[in-house]
């Protein structure tokens, strides 16, 4: 396990969206824990930085929030993906797919391929 890498806000946003897409509505703490789990603790995310990001996503209309009850019967704010958010996620996923394919091709390059 190497050093935990810092992650950029843009990719963090994607992670949030995908998490919500897969796991349904979650509260802030839940999203943070899930991201940590999924990334296998490889990423260092100051959990607090999530909240400004959630606000930004909400301002953009990718997610929506509502009050709800958490597992231990406490009042918590739950976030869910909106239709616009889902569309954004899908297009971003396509872009990432394309990018990684291109990068993969470059990394598979050998000298004779270009002769």
């Amino acid at each position: 396990m190497g050093e935990k890498k810092d992650v950029q806000q843009g990719t963090l946003a994607l992670m949030v969206l995908k998490t919500l897409d897969v796991l349904g509505p979650l509260h802030g703490y839940g999203i943070a824990r899930r991201i940590e789990q999924i990334s296998g603790d490889l990423l260092a995310v100051n959990q607090g930085t999530l909240y400004p990001l959630l606000l930004k996503l909400e301002q953009e209309g990718a997610i929506a929030s509502d009050w709800g009850t958490s597992e231990n019967n406490r009042k918590a704010r739950f976030y869910r993906l909106t239709r616009a958010g889902r569309k954004h996620l899908q297009s971003e996923a396509r872009d990432w797919q394309q990018t990684s394919e291109i990068i993969a091709r470059f990394f598979a390059l050998k000298v004779d391929d270009l002769q």
């Binding site: 607090g48 953009e60 009042k75």
Partner: protein
């Protein structure tokens, strides 16, 4: 898109002030609690778990800050905070705010008013397509000695025959047209009405290229003898159409009876088009041949001695303005040779210059324009100078105020504020002043142009001009206002760059003892004083020159004199009968109650009308004296008495002077001295030049009268010759009735009654008093004097205000110093003396510079002003004295405050 949406949401949250704070706090608490629980479950103690959770979460305060930044627009928030702070600090120094706004409002407002006037008269283009391709042909006498004052830049319109010839020979334009103002009698209903009209040649509207609002515009076939194919046709103006025909489209084809001739309306001029003569408002436009039909040989169309054709043309594509000028230069000789009878060609070549000139025609032509172009330009320079003063004033004020804020700026900079942030605050505070100032300026400007224009109109009732501040003027003014304020208010932030923060903070609000203002600021005050002095001096010169005009004796006694310009052109009586008519009317008038004296004259006085002809004499020694432009007038008996001119020798005209008796004349004393320098003029003979193919007549001089002004107050009383109206070679169609009496209202009533009695079917022109007319003839001078006075007073006021502001602020900063001095034994008297002394040095420096500048400038001004010695010491002394007094007063008030300082309190305040 997302970004825009975000901005709106953030704006909304800013405005609605949602309490997200609460929500965030709750969420964070919740999050940390959950994380703590997990750590506890993993085996940590409660305290340890919480600590770890907090560490994992990150710096809560920083997160909250970051959240807040996301939630709303931090820039807006801080801007709003700045505005509130600015308003608060302005409320603490209301004088400063009021002063700044006043300075800005008055200064820029004056500028707007004058620029609007100048813009309208000098630069606003005619509402025609491509006005910059229009050129105007005229005779110009610029630069040629004609014996007239140097300031007169004479531009003459052309004559009909010259226009025809020019049209044939010129090559620069597609075509030329002629335009002139006129009047027509309209048999509208019960009362016949006189309508302002315009006479144009056939090519006017085709060359101008405008489109009618209705119907069609006059064209070449309409301008033929006898009218076009449908007879006589005319166009009416848009306003006339709306006012008298209620905008009814059925006006097309309607017939108006003008000058007893039926004329068909074929079109309506476009809205906002008043012709090419700025200031005119012709209700109806007729072809020039119509005038020939009405007036026959009396029409100007084919006469050479009447210069009334304003000639304009449109340049051919590709031809430049310079080429047109060159073209006119080459053809001028042949045009005059062809168009003008040989006998009077000399006059044209001699009196008018060797230049058939071409000027840009896009702004139309106006009497006001040609006479007052230079003074208007000068006025604009003055206004620009005032603007400069305004700018300087504002800068001084702001910088003085800024001096006290260095402390504050230093602290904020030390706390981490970046320079642009401080600048933003200063900019906002500057805007808080600039915006009300601009509003005031706009109001002053709008009101001011109205006032100025009312004063400016010479032909008062009929002068129509589209007077609204052009967008350019408005934008320029507001731009200037904003720039001035912003630059001035941002200066302190600039200084911070070089600031040694710690020393600035230490020095405290009061500033170091003996601290000197920066060099730049030290120059500002004297520069401002100098410029203001220049303005005040120039203003004083204008006012002095105008007063001189009014005070100078005109040669008459204008009180109680009424003038009525009657006009019998259209009457059917012949010449002799008309003379008899006038004679009967005069007899009747003299009988009326309230009429002390009544007479008549051909040339109405003080109206700008000139009639001059060449005459010569042979004096007792056989010497011939010739005056090629002797002013003349044909008058009824008793005119001199009525006007208040004195009969110096000989006799007045009387009933005995008629067509059958010997031709006689009366000379003014200057004319008599000219024609008969060595002997008495009485009994001598004046002969007319037979140039215009008139019979040569020798007039015996039978009387001498005192000199009097003729057409304008601006010029000295010219040499004048008078003839009895009964001995006139040409028929007398219009005489001005001149009445004298103690009550001009009674005179007017008597005049109206007489007119109704003798000529009930002629229009009765409104009478006007001689005093009114004289005032009107100098109304433009009044305007300039007023403007100049206003500007000078403004400059004075501004300087005083600014000086007051600067000094009082400075003194408040020096409270500690004053306190120490007084504690050390200085009396209040000495303190006041010290402060006043410093002010005196500054002001004197400024005054000296100002005097030097004035001396240099006014030399050049002399050409504009009537008979003023430019370095008139009285005016300069008055200006300098008033400035000195005013500024000393402005400095005295704050210094008195300083002397009242309690030394102990002052020292404690540090």
């Amino acid at each position: 898109m997302k970004a825009i949406r975000r901005i709106f949401v953030r704006l909304a949250s800013l405005l609605l002030r949602r309490r997200d704070e609460e929500r965030l706090r709750a969420e964070i608490e919740e999050h940390i609690a959950l994380q703590t629980e997990e750590y506890i479950r993993a085996g940590m103690s409660a305290a340890e778990g919480r600590r770890q959770a907090l560490v994992k979460f990150g710096a809560a305060e920083a997160i909250k800050e970051s959240y807040r930044d996301q939630a709303s627009l931090p820039l807006m928030e801080s801007a709003i905070a700045d505005v509130k702070y600015g308003l608060r600090s302005l409320r603490h120094s209301p004088a400063f705010a009021l002063i700044s706004i006043t300075i800005l409002g008055l200064g820029v407002g004056a500028n707007t008013a004058v620029f609007t006037l100048a813009d309208t008269f000098l630069w606003r283009s005619l509402s025609v397509p491509q006005p910059e391709r229009l050129v105007r042909y005229m005779f110009s006498s610029a630069g040629v000695p004609t014996g007239l004052p140097a300031s007169t830049d004479l531009d003459f319109p052309l004559s009909g025959p010259i226009f025809d010839e020019l049209r044939k020979e010129q090559r620069a334009c597609t075509d030329l047209f002629g335009w002139t103002d006129s009047h027509v009698l309209w048999a509208a209903g019960a009362e016949p009405e006189t309508l302002p009209a315009a006479l144009v040649t056939g090519g006017a509207f085709p060359v101008l290229g405008i489109k009618p609002a209705l119907g069609r515009l006059l064209d070449y076939p309409d301008d033929r003898p006898g009218g076009g194919p449908l007879g006589w046709v005319a166009n009416i103006s848009y306003d006339f159409w709306q006012a008298r025909f209620h905008g009814d489209p059925a006006v097309l084809g309607k017939t108006l009876v003008l000058e007893h001739i039926p004329v068909t309306i074929v079109g309506v001029l476009p809205k906002g088009f008043y012709g090419v003569l700025i200031g005119s408002n012709p209700r109806v436009v007729l072809p020039w041949e119509f005038d020939v039909q009405v007036n026959g040989a009396g029409s100007d169309r084919h006469r050479n001695n009447s210069l009334s054709f304003t000639v304009m043309g449109r340049l051919r594509p590709g031809v430049t303005y310079g080429q047109a000028r060159a073209d006119s230069g080459t053809i001028k000789e042949s045009v005059i040779k062809e168009a003008v009878p040989a006998k009077i060609q000399d006059d044209f070549f001699r009196m008018l210059t060797n230049r058939l000139d071409v000027r840009p025609g896009g702004t139309g032509f106006s009497d006001f324009n040609r006479q007052y172009r230079k003074p208007l330009l000068l006025m604009q320079l003055l206004v620009l100078a005032v603007l400069l003063v305004v700018g300087l004033n504002l800068s001084t004020l702001f910088m003085a105020r800024a001096g006290g804020r260095r402390h504050e700026m230093a602290i904020r900079a030390a706390l981490g504020a970046r320079r642009w942030r401080l600048l933003l605050q200063l900019v906002i505070e500057g805007l808080l002043l600039a915006i009300p100032g601009s509003i005031v300026a706009l109001l002053v400007g709008a009101w001011g142009s109205r006032v100025l224009f009312t004063l400016a109109s010479r032909q008062a009732p009929d002068m129509t001009v589209d007077l609204h501040p052009g967008l350019v003027v408005l934008a320029a003014n507001l731009g200037f206002a904003l720039c001035a304020v912003l630059i001035s208010s941002c200066w302190p932030a600039w200084q911070i760059r070089r600031l040694d923060l710690s020393s600035a903070m230490e020095s405290g609000r009061q500033g170091h003892l003996g601290e000197r203002r920066s060099r730049f600021v030290r120059w500002l005050l004297p520069a401002q004083v100098a410029l203001s002095l220049l303005l005040v001096a120039v203003a004083g010169l204008f006012v002095a020159s105008f007063t001189r005009i009014l005070v100078e004796p005109s040669g008459f006694r204008p009180q109680g004199v009424l003038l009525a310009d009657t006009n019998f052109y259209r009457r059917t009586e012949n010449g002799e009968q008309k003379v008899a008519l006038y004679q009967h009317m005069l007899v009747r008038l003299r009988q009326m109650p309230g009429v002390e004296a009544a007479s008549a004259a051909r040339v109405t006085l003080m109206n700008g009308d000139e009639a001059d002809e060449p005459y010569y004499s042979q004096d007792a020694a056989g010497q011939r004296h010739e005056d090629r432009a002797l002013f003349e007038n044909r008058v009824a008996p008793g005119l001199f008495d009525t006007l208040g001119m004195r009969l110096l020798a000989g006799r007045d005209f009387g009933e005995s002077d008629s067509e059958q008796t010997e031709p006689v004349c009366i000379l003014t004393s200057s004319a008599a001295r000219f024609f008969f320098p060595t002997s008495s003029a009485l009994g001598g003979f004046i002969t007319n030049d037979n140039a215009q193919e008139r019979p040569v007549v020798h007039y015996r001089v039978v009387g001498l009268v005192s000199d009097a002004k003729y057409d304008t107050l601006h010029e000295a009383a010219p040499r004048t010759i008078f003839f009895p109206y009964t001995q006139s070679a040409e028929s007398l169609d219009s005489l001005t009735l001149v009445l004298r009496g103690p009550d001009t209202a009674k005179l007017a009533a008597g005049y109206r009654e007489t007119m109704h009695q003798f000529v009930p079917d002629s229009p009765v022109p409104a009478p006007v008093t001689l005093q009114q007319r004289m005032l009107v003839s100098v109304s433009s001078d009044r305007l300039f004097a007023l403007l100049a006075g206003y500007l000078g007073g403004l400059a004075l006021l501004l300087s005083c205000i600014a000086l007051y502001g600067v000094m009082s602020w400075n003194i408040s900063l020096r409270t500690a110093e004053v306190g120490i001095r007084m504690a050390l034994g200085a009396t209040p008297y000495r303190v006041v003396g010290m402060i006043l002394g410093e002010a005196l040095v500054v002001v004197t420096a400024g005054l000296l510079a100002g005097l030097a500048a004035t001396a240099g400038t006014t030399r050049w001004l002399a050409s504009f002003l009537f008979d003023t010695r430019p370095l008139d010491p009285r005016v300069l002394l008055a200006a300098a004295g008033s400035m000195l007094a005013a500024t000393m007063f402005a400095a005295w008030l704050p210094s008195r405050r300083a002397s009242a300082i309690d030394p102990v309190a002052a020292l404690r305040a540090e």
